[in-house]
Symmetry: C2
Subunit: 551 residues, 2 copies
Amino acid sequence: MKITLSQLSFHTGNFSTNTKKMINAINEAKKCGSDLIVFAELATCGYPARDFLQFQDFISLAQKSIIEIAAHCTNIAAIVGSPTVNPVVHGKDLYNSAYFLVDGKVQHIVNKTLLPNYDIFDENRYFEPGTLHHIITYKNYKIALTICEDLWNINDNPMYIKAPMDVLISENPDFIINIAASPYSKTQIETRQNVLKINALKYQLPVFYVNHVGAQTHLIFDGGSCVVDATGNIFDELQYFSEDQKTYQLTVKENLSIDLCDAISTLTGIRNKYADIEIALTLGIKQYFDKLGFKKAVIGLSGGIDSALVVYLATKALGPDNVWAVMMPSQYSSEHSVNDSLLLAARLGIKQNIISIEKTFQTLSDTLQPYFKDTPFGLTEENMQSRSRAVILMALANKFGYILLNTSNKSELAVGYGTLYGDMCGGISVIGDLYKTEIYQLANHINRKEEIIPVNIINKEPSAELRPDQKDSDSLPPYDILDSILFHYIEETKGIQQIIDHGFEPDLVKKILKMVNINEWKRWQAPPVLRVSQKAFGPGRRVPISGKYLS
Amino acid sequence: MKITLSQLSFHTGNFSTNTKKMINAINEAKKCGSDLIVFAELATCGYPARDFLQFQDFISLAQKSIIEIAAHCTNIAAIVGSPTVNPVVHGKDLYNSAYFLVDGKVQHIVNKTLLPNYDIFDENRYFEPGTLHHIITYKNYKIALTICEDLWNINDNPMYIKAPMDVLISENPDFIINIAASPYSKTQIETRQNVLKINALKYQLPVFYVNHVGAQTHLIFDGGSCVVDATGNIFDELQYFSEDQKTYQLTVKENLSIDLCDAISTLTGIRNKYADIEIALTLGIKQYFDKLGFKKAVIGLSGGIDSALVVYLATKALGPDNVWAVMMPSQYSSEHSVNDSLLLAARLGIKQNIISIEKTFQTLSDTLQPYFKDTPFGLTEENMQSRSRAVILMALANKFGYILLNTSNKSELAVGYGTLYGDMCGGISVIGDLYKTEIYQLANHINRKEEIIPVNIINKEPSAELRPDQKDSDSLPPYDILDSILFHYIEETKGIQQIIDHGFEPDLVKKILKMVNINEWKRWQAPPVLRVSQKAFGPGRRVPISGKYLS
């Protein structure tokens, strides 16, 4: 039997495009003589479809897609993820299902049992868990068909009470298929492969795994569809971060053996963390623009490393003709800020302009003088500069149909070291899930062969340049310390004492944690953040604004 | 036996304050000779504590509260909602529990079975559902203790497969206690009372119900704690929208009879929808400020009905000395805008100032002239005005420690008729869950006895005044039609065809639904919206930004 893994990029709610893609993939698979093609979880409607799933209309369109795809399943079977209406009155309205299509019709429906409802996942919001587990017999093979989380209740990760494979194994399946919607994070590739390996080993069965690829606003899907053999070794992987399709031959000799048809193996082995982050963020930008129907980005270039990195990634994603860097110096800007930015823009071959905010800031100051009178220059005046820049950038974006890209990093988003409606503006936050220390690592990775981001930008001391001689270190501890404390708190949800026990100053820990919590109101209004960690700001981290915990 | 219902306002994560409040309430109840005092669901930590529940630290503090409260339970028992650690390795880490405290210690723990995971509720994210159901025997009474949603699986609302009362009833309880965290919406009071009545009738038992009161950022809790007798009649209610505590006497003659001790009945009967909305929004503003430690609000007063209503509600919530109305006319503002605003400010007795944006707008236009050149005046220039106002308002807020209140309404938030980083700014959106047609109703309700909001503001045609002779009706259909279409789509999740079947123009319906969906990116960055409907923008409505459904 030949099995085709089809790793596609779907557009949420865009049923016609998604359906066409799958039908094309089926036709390609037929050319390879494939017997079975496997698509990802909730492939018809895209993932995550979120509350669109609550529209009957939307579910009807998913069902139409299934019928249309099934019509092409002649001489081939297809496994397609799609929502199913729960026929029983009690419980949630839907199941998260895998359709087994063959002979032009729906032959089996398998419902997902383990519904992830943590971090960015909300599946209990929409779906009733499946309770019945049966293998599917097709061409004399017995298939254990599972959906994503169904394989995740493994020994060291006991999130659930059930494990569907423990039931399915009693029917002696020949292999496992898992269709998934497993978003990228910098630790996810390894975690996910371990889950697949543990399952293969535990049940002594090969696993065929198909994931989504592409980006849905804040979530990036890396793909990484693969085949794991019954001894727990990765036999082959599909390409990461791009669409891919491959066919494998199954033969039963003494044991089940797997061969790769008409293609070469693309096993990648150990991956480079920053290379992955770079390509992930590039994909995140690209698909955000594509899916919203935009082509061009405008970015405020401050002379600092954050905006330099964003402008580099935007150029990689959209091409140099589609990126506009705008420098907006004030009386507090250093000369090198503009010069370093000009050098970067020249190296990237992008359009750049210098638009001073001095007059705007002066006019605002004059307008407010009757009220501010003799109050000292302070945070308000700093915010006014940042917001003046945002008004100019948004005007350029609105006038010429660009999207403004946000340049906030995770460290500053965490402690509120940024101006809401100022430098926190933008359609999407590109590097908002990277701590400042990671920003440097990524910049160095980008410069590994040749200097693209001017070293001067990397080496200068971080500064917002909103008052004379300002430095980030005036307000914040050194970034390596800050980022460690933040990581313990945000990613690891450790309490004050646990963090102090790592050897940090108690008062500093208290101060930092308080800053994180009292700035939740700013993050509520922040743009979506491209997620590359296990815990990004946004829908995966839900914290009260008006709470009093540690604040 | 005497039962005290204690309806308190808790502060999320503020364990010391919440614990003190409950101990004071216990002492008050003891003075009345009460045998049992009942507090709300998750009373120790506040509701919703959201991802704070994922911090072990936070859970330990909740457990300390329970021990501290238990120490005061001598000669009285207390029922207190608090999270419990799930002792079993498998499943979620916590239970949502009701502690039964007596003789200084924890006597029973009941775990919530039905976990709401829809709209603004995310309880499956944190809690494992309870599976064991036993009555609690106390002073010869058998108590069926349930937690909020546990009573909600009633005939016409089959969200769940189980109904804990169906098990508990077999042990012949004498009455039902339900502790809840049931937020206000304009239909919720009736819905909730119906649920309690249906349970009382079905099981032929009295129900003692205690809810939260107060506001947690976007969520407003109206209280409405009450006693329902075994025939399904509301015997008594506690006050709405404020803390209250009342004690009831239970006597077993032929049947169980209930009497009210030392207080008068405050049964309210049919409630006035707009009176409730007014008090709910006032409470929402008040507690947002109190909990964040702010006192003063600044509001941009345009001369339109939306900002007039917000400034009125803010004055009611914070007092006239704490509200600052700022008028920011441009060359496109009508004279009556400023005059009507001055009249309103005078009537409310609040501080007002006029700060023209003409120079700021002119400077911005001059700055951008080299880029905009001969492009026509359009949406960009309108947004620039709106954003100039936001920069001024935020500068005033930052300089003097005010919070800017947002004045967007639900109709404009829905179709994106507003400027992100402009009039969409603010710490909290006061009327963002009221359609424009409801805004008029609420204004008329406020003016029912005397004219407070100038009729000229109510009667004028809505306009953003961002270009000469602009009217909302240039861009939008009449608000009664728009709001009906929006209601069918947002509150009722109806599809295009279903809405058209109500008799609306097909092209108009398509246009409106598309506007709603393509403006999701703006709402992602909108302030928290005080929730008064069954479906508010914000955490209760989760929609993809880069989706393609109906757009």
